[in-house]
C-alpha cells in the first residue's frame, strides 16, 4: 500500500528461489504434455476443417441421409453409413440425421450448422465440440463403447436450445 524503499530490487532468498524453480518446472511439464499427447495420445482435438456454404452443407447432409437411411424416428431419418465420411447437421433445434455407427470403426464426422452457433456434446462420453455455420469441422471419431448415446446442444442457440437433444447409436 505504501511506497517501497528507494531500492527495492533485492535478490530473491533461498525459499523464493526454490518455489519459483519448482513452479516453473511444473509449468514446463504442463507445456510439454500437449505436444507429447499430440503425437502419442489417442484423443486429440481435430484440426481439419473446410469453409462451406451452410445451404450447400445442408444439401450434402440430405443426400447422405437419403443414401444410407435405414429407418425413421419422429421424422428424423436413422442412418447407418459405412466407415468413412459421415455428416451431421445442427440447426434450430435439431440434430439431423440420427447416426448409427459401429464400435471400433473410424468415421470422418463432418459437422456444421445451418443457422447460429451450436455445440456438439456426446454424452455420457463427454466429448464436446463447437459447431459454427460456414465451417465444416471434420472429427475423426472411433467409438470404443457401444450403446445409445445422447447428442446435446451445449451452445446457447435461442429459446429452443434445451430441446435440441438427439441420439447416436453405436452397435457392436
Amino acid at each position: 500500500m505504501f511506497p517501497p524503499e528507494r531500492v527495492w530490487w533485492k535478490p530473491l532468498d533461498r525459499m523464493e528461489k526454490n518455489w519459483v524453480t519448482i513452479a516453473f518446472i511444473w509449468c514446463l511439464f504442463m507445456t510439454a504434455m500437449m505436444p507429447i499427447w499430440f503425437f502419442m495420445g489417442r484423443q486429440n482435438v481435430p484440426v481439419t476443417s473446410y469453409r462451406v456454404e451452410p445451404q450447400a452443407f445442408q444439401q450434402k447432409v440430405m443426400d447422405f441421409a437419403e443414401q444410407y437411411k435405414i429407418g425413421d424416428e419422429n421424422g428424423v431419418p436413422v442412418v447407418a453409413p459405412p466407415p468413412g465420411d459421415v455428416y451431421l447437421l445442427a440447426r434450430q433445434w435439431q440434430w439431423y440425421p440420427i447416426l448409427q455407427l459401429k464400435k471400433g470403426e473410424t468415421y470422418r464426422l463432418h459437422v456444421s450448422s445451418l443457422d447460429v452457433l451450436h455445440g456438439l456434446s456426446i454424452q455420457p462420453t463427454n466429448l464436446n465440440f463447437q459447431v459454427i455455420p460456414g465451417y465444416d469441422y471434420v472429427i475423426e471419431l472411433t467409438p470404443t463403447d457401444s450403446g445409445e448415446f445422447s447428442l446435446v446442444c451445449n451452445e446457447y442457440c435461442e429459446i429452443g436450445h434445451h430441446i435440441m437433444v438427439s441420439k447416436l447409436m453405436v452397435t457392436e
Binding site: P3, W9, C27, M30, Q43, N126, N128, G134, N154, E158
Partner: protein, 563 residues
C-alpha cells in the same frame, strides 16, 4: 505514514485522513463513492438474477420458464461479470491513483462524464435485455441478433471505462511530476496499473468485436464471420477477467497490509509476477476457441499455455508471496510457534483477513486449478461448454474477486465514505457465509459438468443418458446459491446501513473489528523470519494441482478415440 510533501495545487480540495495520514482529494473521493455505489446497485440486480437462475437449474425447484431463464442468465452475466466488477475497479483505480499517492485526480469532470457513459450504457443493456429484445447471453455470439441498443449500451459502457482508465494513467503521471509520492509506485498501485494496462487493450478489443456487430445488426455490413467474432469477442471477454485478476491481486496485497501490517516479501518478485501477467495473460483468450474449427494445434497449444504457462507462474508467485508476507508479519508479532501457529492466531474476525484467505484459497485451489486444466488443449474436449466452465469462473470471479472486493468495500466505508462500519458481527461472518455458498455452487457446477451437464441449459431432464448423480450436484448448486445470496444480503445490509447513517466518522485505525496489532519490538529483534508454513502450503497446493491435472488426462484417455 505518508510523506509530507508540498502540494502545488489547491489545498482546499483536500482533506487529511485521520487514520492513515493520506491526503484525500475530495473530487476524487466523490467519484470513488459514485462508482462504488453503482457497483453495489449492479450486484444487487445481478444477484437477484443469480438467485432466480440458480433456482431454475436446481431441478427440484425449476422456477423460471425457459425464456426468462435465458433472459436473466444474459442479465446476470452482464451485470456481474462486467458492470459490478468494472464499476468497482474504476473506484479502485481512482482510489489507487489519488489516495494512495496523495495526489489529485486530474480531470474530475471527465471522470463524471465517464461515469455517466457507464451508467447510461449499463442502463440501456439492462432495459433492452429485460424487454426481451436481447436474449443472446453475455457472449452475444454472431449470428445471434440482439436489438441495436444492446450493442450501443455495451459500447458506451466500454468507452466510459476506457476514459476512466485513461484518467488513472494521467493522474499517476501528474502525481509523479508534482512529486506527491517518492520513488517507485506502491505495489498495490503497481498491480492496479497492470490491471489498467490490460483493461486498455481489453476494452479496445471489445470495440473491435461489438462495433462491427452493431453495424451488422443494422444491416450496414452484410456478413460478420462468426469465427472472427468469437476470436475478437474473447480478446475482450477473457482479458476482462484478467483485469479482475490483476485488480484482485492488488487488493489482496492491500488487504494483507491493512489487516496484518504485511509488507511484500520481495518487491522485485511480486512486481515480476505482475509483469508476467501483462506479457502473457492475454493469450488465454484462446481458451474459448480450443475445440473450434479452423484453428491449428500450434495456435491453440501456444496460446493456451500462455507461452509456457508464464502467466500461471505469475499467479503461483503471488500465491507464495502474499501468504508469505502475512506469515512473516504475524511471526514478527510473536505468533511464531510451529509451522502454522501464525495462522491459528491470525485476525480471523477481521473481515478483510478472512476474506483474503477465503478469496485466495478458493481462487487458487478451485478456480486456478480447474482453469488451467480446462484451458489445456486436449483436455478442453471433455469440458468445453459443460458446467465445468461456469464452475471454474464462479470460483475465480465470484469466490475470488467478488469476495475480495466485498471485503475491500468495508474498508472504503470509514476511509472514503467516512461512516462507521455498522453490523460489525455480520461483516465478520459475511466472508465465511458467502465463501461457503460459492464453494458449493462451484463444486456443484464442476461435478455436474464432469458428468456431462451442459451450461446455459434450461432443462436437462430430456437427456436420458446422464447419470442420476447429476441431481446431487445440481441440488448442491441450488443450496449453495441460497447460502451465497444470504452472504450477499449480509454484505448489502452492512454496506447500506453504514453508508446511509448520518453521523460523520473519522477513523483512527485501518482495521475495523480487531485492533491493529503493532509489531512487537521484542519479536522484531529476533531477526529474519522465513515463511516456512507458506512454503508447506504452496507445496500441498502444487500436489493437489498435479493430482487434479493428471486425473483429467486419465479421464480423457478413457473416452473415444478422436483426431
Amino acid at each position: 505514514m505518508a510523506a509530507e510533501v508540498a502540494m502545488p495545487v489547491n489545498e482546499s480540495e483536500f482533506r487529511t485522513c485521520s487514520a492513515t495520514g493520506f491526503k484525500v482529494h475530495l473530487p476524487a473521493e466523490a467519484l470513488i463513492k459514485a462508482n462504488a455505489v453503482a457497483a453495489v446497485v449492479c450486484i444487487l440486480v445481478g444477484g437477484t438474477a443469480a438467485l432466480l437462475i440458480a433456482m431454475t437449474r436446481w431441478p427440484a425447484v425449476h422456477l423460471l420458464p425457459a425464456d426468462w431463464f435465458y433472459r436473466l442468465l444474459t442479465l446476470h452475466g452482464l451485470d456481474m461479470l462486467v458492470a459490478w466488477i468494472v464499476f468497482f475497479e474504476v473506484a479502485g483505480l481512482y482510489f489507487g491513483s489519488t489516495v494512495l499517492l496523495n495526489a489529485r485526480l486530474v480531470k474530475p469532470k471527465l471522470g463524471w462524464f465517464a461515469f455517466a457513459l457507464m451508467v447510461l450504457g449499463g442502463a440501456l443493456i439492462n432495459i433492452i435485455v429485460l424487454m426481451g429484445k436481447a436474449d443472446v447471453m453475455f457472449t452475444a455470439y454472431v449470428p445471434l441478433k440482439a436489438h441495436p441498443i444492446f450493442y450501443i449500451g455495451v459500447i458506451l459502457f466500454a468507452v466510459g471505462a476506457l476514459i476512466a482508465v485513461g484518467l488513472f494513467f494521467a493522474t499517476i503521471a501528474v502525481a509523479k511530476k508534482e512529486k506527491t509520492y517518492e520513488g517507485s509506485l506502491p505495489l498495490v498501485v503497481y498491480g492496479l496499473a497492470t490491471a489498467a494496462i490490460i483493461a486498455t487493450y481489453t476494452l479496445l478489443s471489445g470495440a473491435f468485436a461489438f462495433v462491427p456487430a452493431l453495424f451488422w445488426v443494422l444491416g450496414w455490413i452484410p456478413n460478420y464471420d462468426p469465427s472472427v467474432y468469437r476470436n475478437l469477442f474473447w480478446s475482450f471477454g477473457h482479458p476482462a477477467q484478467q483485469i479482475n485478476l490483476a485488480a484482485m491481486v492488488a487488493i489482496w496485497y492491500a488487504l494483507a497490509a491493512i489487516t496484518t501490517g504485511a509488507k511484500p516479501l520481495n518487491e522485485k518478485l511480486s512486481r515480476l509476477a505482475f509483469v508476467l501477467y501483462l506479457l502473457f495473460i492475454n493469450l488465454g483468450s484462446a481458451h474459448h476457441l480450443l475445440v473450434d474449427p479452423g484453428l491449428s494445434f500450434a495456435y491453440k497449444a501456444f496460446n493456451t499455455s500462455y507461452m509456457m504457462y508464464l502467466a500461471v507462474l505469475g499467479s503461483m508467485i503471488h500465491a507464495y508471496s502474499i501468504p508469505g508476507a502475512v506469515e512473516v508479519a504475524l511471526r514478527k508479532k510473536g505468533h511464531n510457534r510451529g509451522l502454522l501457529g501464525w495462522l491459528r492466531n491470525a485476525p480471523w474476525k477481521e473481515p478483510g483477513f478472512s476474506a483474503l484467505v477465503i478469496s485466495m484459497v478458493l481462487f487458487g485451489w478451485i478456480g486456478g486449478v480447474t482453469g488451467v486444466t480446462l484451458g489445456t488443449e486436449q483436455l478442453n474436449m471433455v469440458g468445453h461448454n459443460t458446467m465445468r466452465i461456469p464452475g471454474h469462473f464462479h470460483a475465480t470471479v465470484v469466490a475470488g474477486t467478488t469476495t475480495a472486493f466485498m471485503a475491500f468495500t468495508y474498508y472504503l466505508i470509514p476511509l472514503i465514505f467516512r461512516r462507521e462500519l455498522k453490523l460489525k458481527k455480520w461483516a465478520s461472518l459475511q466472508p465465511f457465509v458467502f465463501g461457503a455458498g460459492i464453494t458449493m455452487v462451484s463444486i456443484g457446477m464442476i461435478t455436474a459438468g464432469i458428468q456431462g451437464v451442459s451450461r446455459r441449459h434450461w432443462d436437462i431432464s430430456n437427456v436420458g443418458t446422464l447419470p442420476g448423480t447429476v441431481y446431487v450436484s445440481l441440488t448442491l448448486l441450488g443450496i449453495g446459491a441460497l447460502i451465497a445470496v444470504t452472504g450477499l444480503i449480509m454484505y448489502l445490509a452492512v454496506v447500506l446501513s453504514s453508508v446511509l447513517s448520518k453521523k460523520q466518522y473519522d477513523p483512527q485505525s485501518l482495521t475495523l473489528v480487531q485492533a491493529a496489532t503493532t509489531a512487537g519490538s521484542e519479536a522484531e529483534a529476533e531477526g529474519r523470519f522465513s515463511p516456512k508454513g507458506t512454503f508447506a502450503i504452496v507445496l500441498a497446493f502444487l500436489m493437489f494441482f498435479a493430482a487434479f491435472y493428471l486425473a483429467n488426462w486419465w479421464l480423457l484417455g478413457k473416452t473415444w478415440m478422436v483426431r
